[in-house]
């Protein structure tokens, strides 16, 4: 122990593998002669005994052999559980001392207790995020929070697959720690997301929404990190000395930034971003240390991108401008969607109609929201030329709304997000539109440009 104390912090944390902590601590200690061959073998024998015990539990004592892959997975789970306990020691050497002095079974049990606590707090974090009031129409965000992470808590198996992460997460974080696995990844993901949402809550929702719209018309379907975009523009606002919560950076202001930052070296730019970030934290009265650290994490990547954009005079890819509403803009607020049961019965009714005139009559009578109408078009209840008849029954505004909502002509067939039925009506609508008389086409195109969707905050 004395020898260990003298050699403290010889094992560098950065040399240890986060996802394979236990084994990397053994290998690193062995490399640094902190662990003898005998001690190494004792630990290995103990881990094998632990594996035999867990395999017996896994098979319910009914099978003495298992497939090598099963055994490897169980072994990995054991090593992961012990690794998460070892990570709780402030110094890797203390973890090594525990490995030498305590039976592996004891460390494993401590690790399991720790993971149970982590699971409970991650569950609570998820509930906090689901109810924290941050609303976005970004599909990846909503899918991740509502559908992808909740099953993790039922599927996660601390006994035999603690290293697995049974969740399919789409929404990207700013500086996501991808080297973590299992509950550690989920905990870290949720903690970081919580921090990001805390930051986003400081900005008015319409400003965030317009910023995203300025970034890309299809921002709802993109895998983008909202925090990163908002923080970058907020930093831009600080650099310009304008109100941060406005978030907008006008093209002229970008030109000013281009002139101001162009001649800075990489280090100077980096320093400028750090100073700006500090100012941002003061202006927003941020005191949360973890949030500040997370914000600092954006700088290395941002300074590289910024430098690149400055050199190529493409600052619009970094600092985003809001899209101006057209002068004669039409604000469109979605009506209430009908419930699934009713929708199904109407869709079935339409499908069974023999004449398209009956289908049109039902649609006009029953469908009162554009989303429901779009769902009907893509529900395999309207066929072939019936689409043309239905489009003919629509006014300019309805056609403009439909055209606004579909992807542009060239990308329809290659877009994997749409079903065949949806692709069909998209194509038919485009054909129908192209066959309209030119003055009407012009009128509708103008309407398409003027429509602005208002985000439904209650959804």
């Amino acid at each position: 122990m004395n020898k260990l104390e003298k050699q403290q912090s010889i094992i560098k944390r950065q040399n240890l593998n986060e996802s394979d902590y236990f084994q990397s601590i053994l290998q690193e200690s062995y490399r640094l002669n902190l662990l003898s061959v005998t001690e190494y073998e004792t630990i290995q024998v103990q881990s094998l005994q632990l594996l035999a015990k867990q395999v017996q539990r896994y098979t319910g004592g009914e099978s003495s052999s298992v497939k090598v892959e099963t055994a490897q997975s169980i072994m990995q789970s054991i090593l992961y559980v012990i690794g998460s306990y070892l990570k709780t020691f402030p110094e890797a050497e203390l973890g090594l001392a525990a490995l030498k002095q305590k039976p592996l079974l004891e460390l494993y049990q401590h690790g399991k207790k720790l993971i149970t606590v982590q699971l409970a707090s991650a569950k609570q974090l998820l509930i906090d995020i689901q109810t924290d009031g941050f609303i976005t129409d970004n599909q990846a965000y909503n899918d991740t929070i509502q559908n992808a992470i909740p099953p993790f808590f039922t599927d996660y198996d601390v006994n035999f697959a603690a290293h697995d992460t049974p969740a399919s997460i789409d929404y990207p974080l700013c500086n996501d720690k991808m080297d973590l696995i299992g509950i550690e990844y989920i905990s870290n993901y949720l903690e970081t997301l919580c921090l990001e949402n805390k930051f986003l809550d400081l900005f008015p929702m319409p400003a965030i929404s317009r910023l995203l719209q300025g970034f890309n018309d299809h921002h709802k379907d993109l895998l983008i990190n909202i925090f990163g975009l908002v923080l970058t523009n907020a930093l831009g606002c600080v650099l310009l000395g304008k109100t941060i919560t406005l978030l907008n950076i006008e093209p002229k202001e970008r030109e000013y930034l281009q002139q101001k930052l162009l001649n800075l070296s990489h280090t100077e730019l980096n320093n400028r971003l750090h100073t700006t970030l500090r100012q941002l934290c003061i202006d927003l009265e941020l005191s949360d240390r973890s949030l500040k650290n997370h914000m600092i994490g954006i700088i290395p990547d941002l300074s590289v991108r910024l430098k690149n954009a400055l050199e190529n005079n493409r600052l619009e890819s970094i600092f985003i401008s809001f899209k101006e509403y057209p002068l004669q803009s039409v604000l469109f607020e979605e009506g209430n969607k009908m419930d699934d049961e009713l929708f199904r019965s109407i869709a079935n009714e339409i499908k069974e109609c023999r004449y398209v005139s009956d289908k049109i009559a039902i649609i006009q009578k029953e469908i009162h929201s554009i989303s429901d109408f779009i769902d009907i078009l893509g529900s395999y209840c309207i066929f072939d030329d019936e689409f043309t008849d239905i489009f003919q029954s629509l006014g300019d505004m309805e056609l403009a709304l439909l055209l606004k909502m579909i992807p542009s002509g060239n990308t329809i067939d290659s877009d994997i997000h749409f079903t065949e039925s949806e692709k069909e009506w998209h194509n038919r609508l485009n054909t129908f539109f192209s066959e309209l008389r030119l003055p009407r086409q012009k009128r509708i195109r103008k309407l398409v440009g003027n429509i602005v969707f208002i985000l439904d905050r209650t959804s």
């Binding site: 073998e41 035999a52 098979t59 003495s64 052999s65 497939k67 090598v68 990995q76």
Partner: protein, 165 residues
Amino acid sequence: MQSMFTLIPSSVTNQLAIAEIVDCNEKTSHYGLILSQADALELVITRSEALSNYGRIEFNGGIISKLILSFSNSPFLTKHNYVATLNDLIETFYYFKNETLDEISDDELISLIKKYFDQRCQGSVELLQNREFEVLARNVRYGISDYEDIYKATEESFDEEGFDE
């Protein structure tokens, strides 16, 4: 990772297994079936090879002695074919552990092998492997609840295409 599995010296585990096998002679000698040290070693080697060939790993051992004790009263085992049959049975056992996706416990699999070996196959391991157990393993994989009833299942399973009954 791999080093963790190859750690225990195989000579030590082999010695233990050989001793365990030879101990079975006490009970099987009643049927005139006796294994020498060399026979026991051969069985242990067969087991290691079968485990390695079928990508399996064993922890507590004991399968060979379980097979020996279970099959000792079989009318088809004589001192002339004893070792060769045991070798085949060990290999068959691990093959069908894989083929049945580990759904059947060790004891149940041994008793099924014994049942078909003594009855339908009349002591032929070849028939057991290629006729009876192929159907049985298929039944297990397709989740047929009375998978043991291989004759009924053979006729019906093609219509069912493996759906649960």
